[in-house]
């Protein structure tokens, strides 16, 4: 198991932590894997690096992988999801003036009504990419009659200041950066809208994991261990220090620390990398994302759900992570959106407790209804 090497792409965000920590704290080296990281400045560049084979793995927005499977976006080689890298981590906020008019509200439903009443007739919402959990959260929360605009996260504060957007949904630290600049305010964590909001995934080109099984196994184990390390509260400040370095996010550690140590969104964790079976790529999660994308883009839901579920590789997760100590659920899909509290489920080791997966409006996705 030595002499393995891989190059993986990431976009400089707090939730790139599992890959960065896997490298910097030696989890990859422990697996005999030389993990080389390539920073991409846009999601389009990250996708192209993966498609062209310049990298073999990537920290990708979950809906990007599903969109490709559905035939949305440019016709590039298909990708697959080996595991989920993070849940939550989205900061939902408003431009300063609008935020002031809805101040004091913290529950998603009344907040949505207040924003509707206080904001312009057609709300302009800044998100990082057309295929992102951010878009799915915002349309779920406010409905489809909103004007979704792509704004690169580092430019989100500027877009707020210029009055180009009323609301934003963006990965940290960019919501906090907007707050620090006094141009916007974080109103909700993404998890208030969808408790188990799958955010980033570990993506590879379809077929790659079968062609390089040892490398895939080493990478998955290293990333899984990094996620477990990241979810120990005592480690989060150190994680912020590592991410802050010039070669990674190149920002002050305190800006990053806020997302990692619970400074956003009150009770419950803002972002999760491991707990509550967060990394298991439930087929129903792929299906759910596909269903929401299909609605947004006017495509038939059935085929979309089938395609979306297929690229979430629960089989590879089971194959490569069982020996590492990952507990594995008895099923590979579940009815999404029914859990309000941590819930024990049948699993190989009998230790699996799923985190809440509820939507704010009680919406439920049953993969068998599709």
């Amino acid at each position: 198991m030595s002499g393995l090497a891989i190059r993986a792409a990431y976009v400089p965000l707090v939730d790139a932590a599992p890959l960065i920590v896997a490298r910097e704290l030696g989890f990859a080296a422990d697996e005999g894997l030389a993990l080389d990281l390539a920073q991409a400045r846009s999601w389009a560049s990250l996708r192209d690096l993966l498609a062209a084979g310049a990298v073999d793995a990537a920290h990708m927005l979950a809906p990007m992988a599903v969109a490709r499977a559905m035939g949305l976006g440019p016709a590039l080689p298909p990708v697959e999801v080996l595991m989920i890298l993070s849940q939550g981590g989205q900061a939902v906020g408003a431009a300063e003036a609008l935020a002031q008019r809805v101040a004091g509200l913290t529950e998603p439903a009344p907040l949505a009504r207040a924003i509707r009443a206080a904001g312009p007739a057609r709300l302009r919402v800044g998100v990082p990419f057309p295929f992102s959990t951010h878009v799915l959260l915002m349309t779920r929360w406010l409905g489809n009659d909103i004007d979704i605009r792509t704004v690169p996260p580092p430019l989100m504060a500027q877009a707020l200041e210029a009055g180009e957007i009323d609301l934003f949904c963006v990965g940290e630290p960019w919501g906090s950066v907007a707050e620090r600049q006094g141009v916007g305010r974080i109103l909700l964590p993404g998890r208030a809208i969808w408790a188990s909001a799958a955010e980033k995934v570990l993506a590879v080109r379809s077929g790659w994991a079968e062609s390089a099984p040892d490398t895939a196994r080493a990478l998955m184990r290293a990333v899984w261990r990094a996620g477990r390390w990241l979810d120990l509260p005592a480690n989060r400040s150190m994680a912020a220090e590592i991410l802050a370095r010039p070669e990674f996010l190149s920002l002050p550690p305190e800006v990053i620390d806020r997302a990692l140590t619970g400074g956003i969104g009150g009770a419950g964790r803002f972002v999760t990398f491991h707990e509550g079976a967060a990394t298991f790529p439930w087929k129903s999660l792929g299906g759910l994302i596909a269903a929401l994308l299909a609605r947004r883009h006017g495509l038939p839901e059935g085929p979309a759900v089938t395609a979306g579920s297929a690229v979430f590789r629960t089989d590879l997760y089971r194959l490569h992570l069982r020996e590492a100590g990952a507990d594995l659920p008895g099923a590979s899909q579940k009815i999404e959106g029914t859990l309000s509290h941590p819930t024990a489920v049948a699993s190989e080791r009998g230790t699996m407790i799923l985190g809440p997966d509820r939507f704010f409006d009680g919406w439920i996705f049953d993969p068998l209804d599709g």
Partner: protein, 194 residues
């Protein structure tokens, strides 16, 4: 000779933008517009309606163009990523050159290809120059740092210049570090000690 393709070059570095524009209009016979400011990028592109958009791989505003390419309907897009059909060899060449290109639906491949090749060559050349410049700058800085470290050792320990250099090099080898790293540590430590 291509006949009148409209190209938008999104590039904030004026020298780089000019070099690319000159090459494309002289050799490629294209009409080239340079856009340095990326604010309201989507609206500007919609207004200009170019056949091709060229943008630095490193530019975060690439994702704004992605948005635009979906605006006309995700499966009936006005602008497609170049390398239609997933020509990954061409994509890889572009990635190495540090350029991304978007091409309007319906531009004929035989007209397009020479333009793209030219853009890749031009951006690639700029990329190499940039890398070389960076390497030269770094080497110069390291040289200065090593000279300062030598000076500190010569004063503190009464060594000759050659002896000071030999000591630095031996320390670097023993610690498996680069000479410049050892020199930097010494200069910092000397600064702290006054």
């Amino acid at each position: 000779m291509t006949r009148g393709i409209d190209i938008l070059v999104v590039e904030s570095d004026p020298t780089r933008a000019r070099a690319v524009a000159d090459a494309l209009s002289a050799d490629g016979g294209c009409r080239v517009v340079i856009l340095a400011d990326v604010s309201s990028l989507a609206r500007r592109i919609a207004e200009m309606n170019p056949d091709v958009v060229l943008i630095d791989m490193e530019n975060p505003s690439r994702d704004v163009i992605e948005d635009l390419s979906l605006a006309a309907g995700p499966k009936d897009r006005a602008v497609a990523l170049f390398a239609p059909g997933g020509d990954t060899a061409l994509m890889r060449a572009a990635i190495e050159a540090g350029v991304s290109a978007y091409v309007a639906e319906g531009v004929r491949p035989e007209v397009l290809r020479p333009v793209i090749d030219l853009a890749i060559a031009q951006f690639g050349q700029m990329q190499r120059l940039r890398t070389e410049l960076e390497a030269t700058r770094r080497a110069l800085e390291e040289r200065k740092l090593i000279d300062r470290a030598k000076g500190i050792l010569m004063r503190a320990r009464g060594l000759s210049e050659d002896e000071a250099y030999a000591l630095l090099r031996k320390t670097a080898m023993d610690q498996k570090k680069r000479l410049a790293e050892v020199a930097a540590a010494l200069v910092t430590a000397a600064g702290l000690l006054g």
